[in-house]
């Protein structure tokens, strides 16, 4: 949340480009950290880092797209921006599907570049807010008893109290009591909010 911990991670095998882009970011008041290779970046990046990543697509060894996948698989949720010498369509589609913020062609104009970086940072920030909320929800979920959880699942599945009671083999009245406890523990003001929370916690997908 705090702007001082927010960094732009640059990964490019071309030292001159790396240096120039770092300067451009600094000139715009952003903090840049440069890495000469994807491997170096993976080895040194803090999993809890905040900010965004600017990746060159074509690099020896691990290329930009592979690096993006590696980040996702490690649960590093940094928004990614791609730079490429010659952007071809299949590459850009793959990048965007992988969650890239943008796919820019070199040489890149400062306005376009900085706008994209800021957007990525913004997305990083909002992503962080989302993640914090999810964490809150998960901690509330953890306070539920198994029975309460079963009731919650029935509620978010859109079933009536009577149906839930029938499924669980308990009285409709008991279901109601559990439901009130769930609403209370989850700090939900309405069923709709509860459903949204369950969604965010991934409960419905499970």
């Amino acid at each position: 949340m705090n702007a001082t911990t927010e960094r732009v991670y640059l990964v490019d095998d071309e030292p001159a480009v790396l240096k120039a882009l770092s300067r451009l970011l600094r000139s715009a008041g952003l903090e840049a950290v440069a890495f000469g290779s994807p491997e170096e970046f993976l080895a040194r990046v803090d999993p809890d880092a905040e900010g965004c990543v600017v990746l060159d697509v074509a690099m020896p060894g691990l290329d930009g797209l592979a690096l993006q996948e590696a980040l996702v698989s490690r649960g590093i949720a940094l928004p990614t921006l791609f730079l490429t010498g010659h952007g071809d369509v299949p590459q850009s589609v793959r990048a965007m599907k992988g969650g890239a913020v943008d796919f820019l062609t070199k040489p890149v104009d400062d306005a376009v570049f900085l706008r994209a970086v800021r957007e990525a940072l913004e997305r990083g920030r909002s992503g962080r807010t989302d993640r914090e909320e999810s964490a809150r929800i998960r901690s509330r979920l953890a306070t539920l008893t198994p029975r309460e959880r079963e009731v919650l699942e029935g509620v978010v599945a859109g079933r009536l109290n009577k149906q839930i009671g029938g499924e669980l083999g308990i009285a409709e009245k008991t279901v109601k009591v559990h439901r009130g406890r769930v609403m209370e523990k989850m700090e939900a003001r309405s069923v709709a909010e509860l459903v949204r929370m369950a969604d965010r916690a991934g409960l419905r997908r499970a």
């Binding site: 095998d13 071309e14 001159a16 480009v17 240096k19 120039a20 882009l21 300067r23 451009l24 600094r26 000139s27 715009a28 074509a58 690099m59 020896p60 060894g61 290329d63 730079l83 010498g85 010659h86 070199k106 040489p107 890149v108 104009d109 400062d110 570049f113």
Partner: protein
């Protein structure tokens, strides 16, 4: 007619005949030896006549006169003999010669001072004698001791002749030595001894001086005639040889002309060039014009002149072979290609000559130039096609510096618009911009070199650098294809001789093929090794991939034109590469690797010396 008259007349006639012959020869050839001989023979003839008169005269006064004049004639005979030996045999001591002449001269002088003559104090009369069936008259008188001086001169003459014979013998000319040493000396000795016996010992015989000297004359005439015969034989042989030579030359010229060739020779000492008619025609020389080396060079194409001269100089200096192809500009401006071959001859007498044959090879050269032009066209086309395929990579190579430049420049703008800008930072940025701009320029330079369609240049090349330059152009392409490159390019290789562009073309082609071959592999397995090395006196560049390798039956065909295993491509790349490498005097080959994949390599002759 009496026998004495017949014999002495024949003697005189023989001498006169020989004298006439050698007088003619002597005058015509300006040969003093022959003239001296003629004089000697004439003297001998006169001597014979005097003897004949003496024999047939019963008058003592006539005898006294004849003896006196005989001395004069004999003096001439003497002189001509000693000088003949001197000039003809080039022998006889000078001091001895003059001693003979002086002593004889003194005797002749005394002969004319004393009455009646040198031989006698007084002539008392004549005595008849039956000789050869007739009566002849012998001189009777008181013998003079002064005659000894004449006898001394005869002795000196003998010594002179023997000494001369010895010199000739030592010189190794045995035949002539025997001739002077035996015949001449014997006849001279016989004459001297016989005369002495007649005068002093009262031998009843007529003088036989002329008869004895006929022997000397005959011996010398034999020698001279031998010479004449020999020289005429020599002349005849020379004539035959000359005729044969001319015929041989005619035959050669005929053969040469049938083969469209020109025969020529260059006489270095006389600075004269001879060539058969066709050669003169091409160069527009007039019929009888004398051609020297300078005149000849006027016809040589100015661009070829230096090389031509150097080749002639080298041949003359080493005395070896001459071989050169050069252009001749005809008077009408047309250019013909001439291939000349020759050899230096250093014959005895004729001096140094460069002799050879030339052929007009214009049609062949034109065809060759045309095929070279076509080859260069194809090579260029293939290069352009290949660069077209690499264009993405090349664009990327240019993009990198351009990206850096733009980002740097815009960063600088932003820094400068800030309050209290960091000028050191801006300076560093400008320095980087300059650096990157140069890098972009370098990429363009490499590209331009490869796209250039120019003359093939043979020069000494640092092979490692040339290969590295080519690899630099492919760098982005290799990265894009995920190919890991290892290059072993030692900087201390000997220089290669060749055309930079074409060698790079071959490297690019081989690397591009290797990358294509590895398309089927996972990117992390795509490994490429490029190495340059010196081996067996030549330079070798190998490109090894780890692709699927070359299936059996493909190795032999990969270099054939229009053969390809790719889905795209014309199948010309390797065929063109092989042509290029062959034109450099090297070889292009392919082989499978033990651990999978294929290695393509080419060799180039080393140019000697270290690379710069």
């Amino acid at each position: 007619m009496s026998w004495t008259t017949v014999l002495w007349s024949m003697d005189a006639a023989a001498c006169l005949t020989l004298a006439t012959i050698h007088l003619v020869i002597g005058l015509r050839r300006r040969a003093p030896a022959n003239l001296l001989f003629a004089l000697m023979a004439v003297s001998a003839a006169v001597m014979a006549a005097l003897e004949l008169f003496l024999m047939h005269s019963p008058v003592p006064e006539v005898h006294a006169g004849i003896v006196r004049w005989a001395h004069a004639v004999f003096f001439v005979l003497f002189l001509s003999l000693v000088f003949f030996v001197r000039t003809y045999f080039r022998a006889g001591r000078t001091w001895l010669l003059w001693t003979v002449v002086v002593v004889r001269g003194v005797s002749v002088a005394l002969n004319f001072l004393i009455d009646p003559n040198l031989n006698y104090v007084r002539i008392t009369g004549v005595r008849p004698l039956r000789f050869l069936g007739e009566t002849i008259y012998l001189t009777e008188g008181v013998f003079s001791e002064r005659t000894r001086i004449a006898q001394l001169s005869s002795l000196l003459l003998l010594i002179y002749l023997i000494d001369a014979a010895r010199t000739v013998w030592r010189r190794g000319d045995r035949r002539r030595a025997v001739l002077i040493g035996s015949s001449t000396t014997i006849f001279v000795a016989v004459a001297a001894v016989h005369t002495a016996l007649v005068m002093q010992a009262g031998l009843r015989s007529p003088y036989l001086i002329s008869v004895a000297y006929l022997g000397v004359v005959a011996a010398m005439a034999y020698e001279l005639t031998f010479d004449v015969i020999r020289s005429s034989e020599l002349a005849r042989r020379l004539q035959i040889a000359d005729a044969e030579l001319r015929e041989g030359e005619q035959r050669m010229t005929l053969a040469a002309e049938a083969a469209n060739a020109v025969l020529w020779h260059f006489d270095v000492e006389r600075n004269e060039i001879w060539m058969s008619e066709r050669g003169r025609e091409i160069r527009g020389y007039g019929g009888g014009e004398r051609i020297d080396f300078r005149r000849f060079q006027e016809s040589v194409h100015p661009e070829d002149l230096e090389g031509f001269r150097a080749a002639v100089d080298a041949a003359l200096r080493t005395g070896g072979e001459f071989e050169r192809e050069y252009r001749v500009v005809r008077p009408d401006g047309e250019t013909r290609w001439i291939a000349a071959r020759g050899r230096v001859e250093t014959g005895v007498g004729s001096g140094t000559r460069l002799r050879g044959i030339s052929i007009d090879v214009t049609p062949r050269m034109l065809a060759q130039l045309e095929s070279e032009r076509q080859r260069s066209e194809l090579t260029h086309l293939s290069r352009v096609t290949m660069l077209g395929e690499l264009s993405g990579s090349l664009a990327h190579e240019l993009n990198q510096p351009l990206t850096a430049i733009l980002a740097n420049a815009q960063a600088a703008e932003r820094f400068l618009s800030q309050e209290g800008p960091d000028l050191d930072e801006v300076r560093a940025i400008l320095a980087d911009i300059v650096e990157e701009d140069k890098r972009a320029g370098e990429v363009i330079r490499r590209l331009r070199v490869l796209l250039k369609k120019g003359e093939v240049e043979r020069q000494s090349l640092p092979l490692s650098e040339v290969v590295r330059d080519a690899l630099e152009l492919m760098r982005s392409d290799l990265v894009n294809r995920g190919v890991t490159l290892t290059a072993e390019l030692p900087p201390d290789l000997p220089a290669a001789v060749g055309d930079r562009v074409q060698i790079q073309q071959v490297v690019l082609n081989l690397v591009a093929n290797a990358c294509d071959a590895m398309e089927v592999l996972e990117p992390r397995d795509r490994r490429l090794n490029v190495r340059a090395e010196a081996a067996n006196g030549c330079l070798r560049v190998s490109v090894a991939d780890c692709g699927p390798g070359l299936p059996a039956g493909v190795v032999e065909r990969v270099f054939d034109p229009f053969f390809t295993t790719k889905t795209h491509g014309m199948g010309l790349g390797l065929a063109v590469c092989r042509t290029i490498v062959a034109a450099h005097g090297g070889e292009l080959g392919a082989a499978g690797n033990a651990g999978g994949g294929a290695t393509f390599h080419f060799t180039l002759p080393a140019g000697g010396g270290g690379a710069a």
